[in-house]
Structure formats: C-alpha cells, structure tokens
C-alpha cells in the first residue's frame, strides 16, 4: 500500500465529491453545440467569401467552443480549490479522513492535482469530443477542405493552451487552497476581500493600480507570454503562433510556481496543525 495508491484514492475521492468537474463542461458543451447547430443553417454566405476569410470563419466556432469550455472549467477549478480544505472542516468529515493512514501532504497534493490537472484534462476531452461532433454535423451542410480546417493542429494548440494555463494558474489554485485551509468560514470572502482591500488602499495611498495590474496579469498573462502577439485577435490556427520558449523563459511563470509551492506547503501545515472541532 504505497503513497501512489493513497494519492490515487485521494484524487478519486475528490472526483466523487466534486461532480461539477464533469457536469459543467458537458453542460456548456451541450449548450454551445445547440448554438452551433442553429448557426449551421446560416452558413450559405460562406462560399462567397475569399479563401483566407473563409478559413477564419470556419475555424472560429471551433475555437470559440473550445475557449468557452476551457473558461468554464477554469471557473469550476477555482470553486473546487476554494472548497477543498474548507468543506471537510465544515462538515467535520476531516475527522474521518484523518482516521485513515493518508498523510496531510498526500491529501493536499491530491486536492491541488484536481484543479491543476484533472479539470483541464476533462475540459480537453470534452472540447475535443464536441469539436469532432461539430465537424461530423457540419460536413453534410458545409463540406470543408482539409486546408481550411486543420483540426489536428487546433488540437495541439488546445493542449498547449491548457498546459500553459495550468502552470500559469497554479499560484491561483494554491492560494485558494490555502484560503480554504485557513478561513474560519466563507472562504470566498476571505479570498477576495483582502485583494480588494489592498487594491483600494493602494489607490487611496498612492493613486496607482499595481495590485489590480498583478491580478489581471495573473489571470490573462498566459496568453501574452505563451502565444504570439497576433494570437489574441482571432482563432489560433497556426503552430507558429505558439511561443513555448518565450513562455518558459518568463520569470513570472517561475515566480508563480514558487508562490504556489509556498501556498501548498502552508496549507499542508495548517491541515496538520489545526486541531479538529
């Protein structure tokens, strides 16, 4: 009975508890697909467009569908992280979990693994399946040429986007886990209010907006660090628009990961030292 099986079952336990990890991307994909089917009826004008514009117009729904699924699962990840170490204290089930020979380290890492890796992986599978469905549904109406829609390349772009966002968002998830380990109640308030207060204090004292800039950069930065500057304007279809070297050279990536590690370490300590009841 190894650490690996402890980790495996701790992750499974998270998935049993947070079924929104599966339901939310599936529901969003369902709604988006209905929208796409309605949109298919109005694609007759596409043939008249010149080839370059048509390629963009064809790729757009695929890209948007992936984006909206990824965005929704990112939000799910935030709530899962915020709930992870708080719910078990609220319902006192922590007393049950702690009666099992699973270390606090394993538990916290499993809880971090869910938003960090499982949620993006689920989003990836759901988005890919939805895109395949879109392709199958649109072929009779809109015979697309291979050159106009390179689904293989889009899949690589999506996987890359998910991977860099997981790394970039790691400190956000770790911060929320720390808050959920610490907050006496209402972890959402405890996560948000200090940042708002800090931003307000900065605005009043210095008339600057550095805190807001940092927050905004942490949420949006993966796009500007990991993709070419032109990538933000339309659907990303070219592998040349990916800039992994630039992304991994960004000191803010590593700063964020170091912060994430520190937050997780603090969360482990809190879970270990806080007496139940």
């Amino acid at each position: 009975m190894s650490v690996r099986s402890h980790f495996y079952w701790s992750v499974r336990r998270e998935l049993w508890e947070h079924r929104s990890i599966f339901f939310v991307p599936l529901a969003v994909a369902g709604v988006a697909l209905v929208g796409f089917l309605l949109h298919l009826g109005k694609t007759s004008g596409l043939a008249a467009l010149d080839p370059a514009k048509r390629a963009v117009a064809i790729a757009m729904p695929y890209s948007m569908l992936a984006s909206v699924i990824l965005l929704s699962s990112f939000i799910v990840g935030l709530f899962v992280a915020l709930d992870a170490l708080h719910a078990e204290r609220r319902d006192r089930s922590v007393l049950f979990w702690k009666s099992m020979p699973v270390s606090d380290m394993t538990t916290v890492l499993a809880k971090a693994f869910v938003p960090f890796a499982v949620v993006p992986a689920v989003a990836f599978v759901v988005a890919l399946a939805a895109q395949c469905f879109m392709l199958a549904a649109s072929l009779p109406v809109l015979p697309v040429q291979g050159a106009e829609l390179n689904l293989g390349q889009m899949t690589v772009v999506m996987a890359y986007g998910l991977a860099i966002h997981a790394l970039w968002f790691a400190p956000i998830y770790a911060y929320l886990l720390l808050v959920s380990a610490w907050a006496p109640r209402a972890p959402l308030l405890w996560a948000v209010v200090p940042i708002v207060a800090l931003a307000a204090a900065e605005k009043i004292a210095l008339d600057s907006a550095f805190v807001l800039y940092v927050v905004r950069y942490r949420f949006m930065g993966a796009m500007s660090e990991g993709f070419a500057p032109n990538a933000l304007k339309g659907p990303i279809t070219q592998l040349s628009q990916l800039e992994p070297a630039h992304f991994f050279a960004s000191p803010n990536l590593w700063l964020g990961l170091a912060l994430a590690a520190a937050c997780l370490y603090a969360a482990v300590r809190l879970r270990r030292y806080r007496e139940p009841n």
Partner: protein, 282 residues
Amino acid sequence: MACIEAIGVRKAYGATVAVDAVDLRLEEGRILGLIGPNGAGKTTLLNAILGLTPCEGSLKVVGRDPWSERDQLMRDVCFIADVAVLPRWLKVSQALDYVAGVHPKFDRAKAEGFLARTTIPRKSKIGKLSKGMVTQLHLALVMAIDARLLVLDEPTLGLDILFRKQFYDALLNDYFDRSRSILVTTHQVEEIQDVLTDLAFINRGKIVLGCTMDEFESRYTEVVVAPDALAAARALGPIHERQVLGRSILLFDRADRARLAVLGEVRAPGIADLFVALMGGA
C-alpha cells in the same frame, strides 16, 4: 507492551491548561472508559493520543510517538471521533472502496459481512442514511480494520437505546479480543459499565481516578441504609451520601463489607454514582 503509555502529558492553549500531568496506561486486550464532565480535557487528551495535536510530556501509542509518526500510527489505530462525521456526499459503496484503497489492514469482505446484517442500502449516499445507520456503517468500516487500538469518542451520542446496545454488543462479540484494546469516552456511563475492564476519571485536565474494574468493584461499596442505622453508617466515613425515594444510599471507599452489611443492603455502586461522588463537589 502497553498500547497507550502517557507520562506527564500536558497540553495548554495559552493560559488555559486543557490536560495537565496526565499519566495513563492501557495494556493490550483491555477496554478503558475515560469518563469526565464536559470541558474536562477528554477530547484534547484523545486528540493527543491520535496525533491530531502536539503535546508536552512523554506519550507512546502502540510504541509510536503519535504526533511525529502519525501516518504510520493510523495503520494500527482506528478512531470514531464523533457520531456522523462521515461525509454526506459519499456513497456507501464509495466509502468501502476508499477505505479498501488506502488502508492496508482493511478486510473488505468482513466489512461487507457486517453491512449485510444491517438494512443500509449500498448505493445510498451517507446523507440519506439515518444517524443510527451512519454509525453502523462507520462501525462496520472500523471493525473490518485489523487495528491494535480503537478510540471511540462519544460514539453513540444521540442514538436510541437499541442502536447503542447493538453498537457495544457488536464491538464485544465481533471485534474485541485479547490482542486489541479499546479506549472509549461517553456520557452514557451506566451502559458501558459491564463492557469496561478499566476505568479512568478525568476532571479539569487531571486524571482523578485510574483503576481496573476489578479494583473498582472491590474498593467501592454502596449501602442502602435503614433510617435507624444512618448515624452509625455516617460514622464510618462515607465519601458520598444521596437520597433516593426516602432512603439513604451511602458510598464507601475501602470499607469493611462485613460491618456495612449490618447497616443495610450492600451492593456494587454504578460508575455514574461514583463519578458524581468524586466530581460532584458538594
């Protein structure tokens, strides 16, 4: 080897001392009842024994330091910390899967066997079960773990008497043996008097009485004294006196039973009565 060996265990929260200079020893194959009023330090002491909180002094549980070796400790020590702490969203079958997955000493077939005797539906979520059923489930999980020490903190609080009786019957008949030990705290003392082999009273963080049940029975005597013998009985120095339905019941510590027999009906006291006598203050 002693299952629990505490010497001078102390735990303070700021200026408040919750557990103070506690010496406690639990041998293998014994069932110890830890009895104390609310706020006496019971839960703090149990938390120290279970490695949930650090403490001062020397504490060994199944030969390990519970705080620094907590993860290994939990392979040999089980606990039910309270009634209904199983998470409500977990299904019964998932609870079995999880414990089977993480606990090296869990015997799934055994747990299934215990559950088969109950009416707990396997596919239900725990939130849908009655409080009694949740306790049955927790007990089934815990009894299927081949642990050396089982710690129960108010395991039957709020359950009806049938469930309480079943709980201790199952514990004695299907779980307890000479190689295992049980530590239990409860307010329903009368119900576990026959279950215990050892007894400890805790008050204001200190152990005020620690003895085996055999010692308890030979040391303490209760006499229902007739009114005309009351003065003579009081002269023998009872540690407590109470009135029940107009009769005086006097509790004696290490008294000569032959002399007491002359004064009235001699009988063994209940733990609860001794508890009141020692803790009641007035």
